[in-house]
Symmetry: C2
Subunit: 381 residues, 2 copies
C-alpha cells in the first residue's frame, strides 16, 4: 500500500502543533524548528515606527512601489555593497520575501511553464509555483556532492525550456554558500537558455565571507529578493524588497497595486531607520547566532550524523546515518521522548534521512539537545 504523501506544509505544521501542545502541558521544549532569528528588534527601529505614527495621525495609502526615501536608501546601499549601480526605480518594497517571491513568479511565469527549484529548498517557492499552476522541476542536490548543482544535469533541464530558476544562496536549509565561480557559471548557463533567475538572498548577512549575488552579474533576466526579516529580526513585520530591471519592476509593481495597494508607511519608515542606523547592532546579533551555529556543528560531529558545515544562514541540515530513516516520524519521537523540536527533511524535498536545525535559541540549550538527538538516532530502528 502506498502511503498517502503529506504536503510539505503539513509536515512542518504537525511538528509545530505537537511542540505547542507539549509546551502547553508544561514541557520545556528545545526549539530547533523556528526559522526566525531570536534576537529582539532594535529599539531604534521600533522607535522609528512609533514616532512616525505619533507625528502623522492620518496614515493613508502610499505608492505601490514603496516609499521613495526607502527605495533611494536601498539603492545607495546595494550599489555600494555590490559595486554596481542600482537605481531606486529598480526596487520595490513588498510585504515580506514570500510576497516578493510570489510577485516575481506570477509576473513572469505562465501556467504550465517550468520552474526549476534546486532541492532541498524553502517550501514557499514550490507553493508559489503551484499557486499559479506552473510546473515545478525538482532539481536534487546531494550532501555527498557538498550540495553542489551539477551543471551537466542543469543544462539538460534548461534545454527542455525552463522559464525561471530559483537560486537561494546562502541556502535554506543546507547553509551552503556557492563559490562565486559556480554561481556565475549557473547564471551564465541560465541566460544562455533564456531562463529567468529568481535569486533569493535573504540570508546574505548570515555569512563568514561575502556570498555571491545576482546583482554582481551581467544580464537583465533576474529578480533579486532580500528582506528585513532575517537581517533585522523583523519577521512578523512583513517587509522585504526586490530588485530587477526598471521594466520588470513596473510589471511586478502591478501585482502589489492589484493585491495589497502598498506596505504600511510606518513599517517602511522603521525599515529606513534599520538600514540607516541599525546595521551594526543587527550584525552583532547575527554574529552571535553564527557562533552558535559553530557550536552546533561541534556538537553534531560528536554524534552519529553526517552534515555539511554551513558557510551561511543559521541552519544546519544533518543526515542520520541509519537506513530507512523517516525524519517526520523521528521528529515526533524526538519531541515526545526528548523534548527537542526539529524540522523533518521531507519539508524541503525528498530528504527523509535529513532534518533541519534552526540555530536561533539560547546557546545553553544546544549541547544537551544535540546529545539527545544523538541518543535518539542511536536508538532508531
Amino acid at each position: 500500500m502506498v502511503k498517502p504523501q503529506k504536503s510539505k506544509d503539513q509536515i512542518l505544521k504537525e511538528v509545530v502543533e505537537l511542540t505547542l501542545r507539549l509546551t502547553s502541558q508544561g514541557k520545556k521544549i528545545t526549539r530547533f524548528e523556528i526559522g526566525e532569528p531570536n534576537f529582539p528588534a532594535s529599539h531604534r527601529v521600533i522607535r522609528g515606527l512609533t514616532e512616525t505614527l505619533r507625528k502623522e495621525k492620518v496614515v493613508g495609502y502610499g505608492p505601490a512601489a514603496g516609499l521613495p526615501e526607502l527605495r533611494k536608501a536601498l539603492a545607495a546601499e546595494l550599489s555600494a555593497e555590490h559595486n554596481t549601480r542600482i537605481e531606486p526605480d529598480q526596487i520595490l518594497i513588498t510585504p515580506g520575501g514570500r510576497f516578493a517571491t510570489f510577485a516575481a513568479i506570477t509576473s513572469f511565469v505562465s501556467s504550465s511553464e517550468r520552474v526549476l527549484i534546486p532541492q532541498p529548498a524553502w517550501p514557499a517557492y514550490e507553493e508559489c509555483v503551484d499557486f499559479i499552476k506552473g510546473r515545478v522541476i525538482h532539481f536534487n542536490t546531494r550532501l555527498d556532492d557538498g550540495w553542489e548543482m551539477d551543471l551537466g544535469r542543469l543544462e539538460t533541464q534548461l534545454r527542455k525550456g525552463v522559464r525561471l530558476i530559483v537560486l537561494n544562496c546562502p541556502n535554506n536549509p543546507t547553509g551552503k554558500v556557492m563559490s562565486k565561480k559556480k554561481f556565475v557559471e549557473i547564471v551564465d548557463l541560465a541566460q544562455q537558455y533564456e531562463s529567468m533567475i529568481l535569486s533569493d538572498e535573504v540570508y546574505d548577512k548570515y555569512v563568514h565571507a561575502k556570498s555571491p549575488s545576482i546583482l554582481e552579474s551581467e544580464g537583465e533576466n533576474f529578480v533579486y529578493v532580500n528582506s528585513f526579516s532575517k537581517q533585522f529580526s523583523l519577521t512578523g513585520w512583513r517587509i522585504a524588497y526586490l530588485v530587477t530591471t526598471k521594466e520588470k519592476a513596473l510589471r511586478i509593481r502591478r501585482v502589489i497595486q492589484t493585491l495589497i495597494t502598498c506596505v504600511p508607511e510606518f513599517i517602511q519608515r522603521a525599515a529606513l531607520v534599520a538600514i540607516k542606523s541599525g546595521r551594526t547592532e543587527a550584525q552583532r546579533n547575527i554574529n552571535s547566532i553564527m557562533k552558535k551555529v559553530e557550536l552546533t556543528c561541534r556538537e553534531l560531529s560528536r554524534i552519529d550524523v553526517s552534515f555539511y558545515k554551513p558557510e551561511g544562514t543559521f541552519y544546519v541540515f544533518p543526515k542520520a546515518n541509519k537506513p530507512n530513516f523517516d525524519s517526520a516520524r523521528f521528529a515526533k519521537l524526538l519531541l515526545e521522548q526528548y523534548h527537542v523540536s526539529i524540522s523533518p527533511g521531507e519539508a524541503f524535498g525528498n530528504y527523509p534521512a535529513f532534518f533541519r536545525l534552526a540555530v536561533s535559541l539560547p546557546a545553553g540549550q544546544i549541547t544537551g539537545a544535540i546529545r539527545a538527538i544523538g541518543k535518539a538516532t542511536d536508538a532508531w530502528s
Copy 2:
C-alpha cells in the same frame, strides 16, 4: 479613428499626478478625489500598536488566519450586529480589503469563468478578475433607475453561468444603499443559479439607516468583506477581514499563507483596540463626514448636474447635464482652471458624463468647490 482606451487605473492616476504637480507648484487644490476618510486614527488605536511593540520586542510570524483574539472579537461583534451566529473559524484577517477581494476571487474563480460586476464599481474588482484571467461581465445600472439592478437582466446573465457576483452596498461610487428586499431578491437569485456572492460591505458604517448584509441571508455561497480602513481611518495600515463558511475560510486561508504568511501582529492588536474601544469616536467622525455629504448634495442641487442622493458612503456621483461630456478631460480642465480635483466617471465603468466626489475634506472647502464645478460644467462645450 478610435481613441485608444485608457485603463481605469490610468485615468485615476493622471488626476492624482496632476493634482500633486499643481500642489508642488504652490496651488491650493480642493481634493474631492481622495477615497479615504480625513479624520485622524484614534489615539487609543495608535497606542494599541505602540504598546504591543514596546512590550514584545521579538514580533515573529503569527497564524495565517489572523490573531485568535481579534477573530473572536469580530465574531462576537458581527453576531450581535447581524443577529446571527458567526464563529471565529469563519473569519480571516487580511492586509486590506483589496487582498480580501483578491483572495476570495482567486480561491473560487478559475480562468475564463464569469464574474458579474454591477457598474459603476470600484476598479479593484475588475483588476482582481483580470489578474486571474477571469471574464468580467459588466452589468450596467443607471442613474435614471436610481442605480437599481434590473432582476430580469440579471437572471438572463445568471442563466449563462456566472461563477461569482460582486455586491457592494453601500456602493462606491454612487452612495446607493439597496433596500433589504432588493438585496435578498438578488441573493436568492444568485443562489438559485449557484453563483457565489462577494459582498463588499466596507462602507456599512457610513449610513443613516442600517444597510442590508449578506450575513443576514441564508445560504453558504458567499464571502463577506469588511475593513478597518474606512471605519477607523486606517487605510494605510492595511487591515481588513472576511467572513465565509469554515470550509471556504480554510481554502482562502491558503492564499494568505502562500502569499504573505500573516498580517503583522501589532497591527492586529491595534485593530482589536479599535473594535473594543474605538467605535464611539470613529462613528462620531463618520457622522461628521456624512453631514458634509449632505452639504455637498445641497450645493450640488444649486448647479446644473443630476445626482442620486446617497444613503451611504462618503461619495456622490453626479452627472453633468451636457451632451458629449468627457469627465476625464473635464477633470483635467477643472484642476487646471479651478484647482478642484475629482475622479472621472470612466474610472468606475462606462460613465463619461459622471464624476465622483469623495467628501472627506474640510467643510469650508465644499461650497466654493461645488460652485467652481458649476461654472466649469456651464462653460463646457
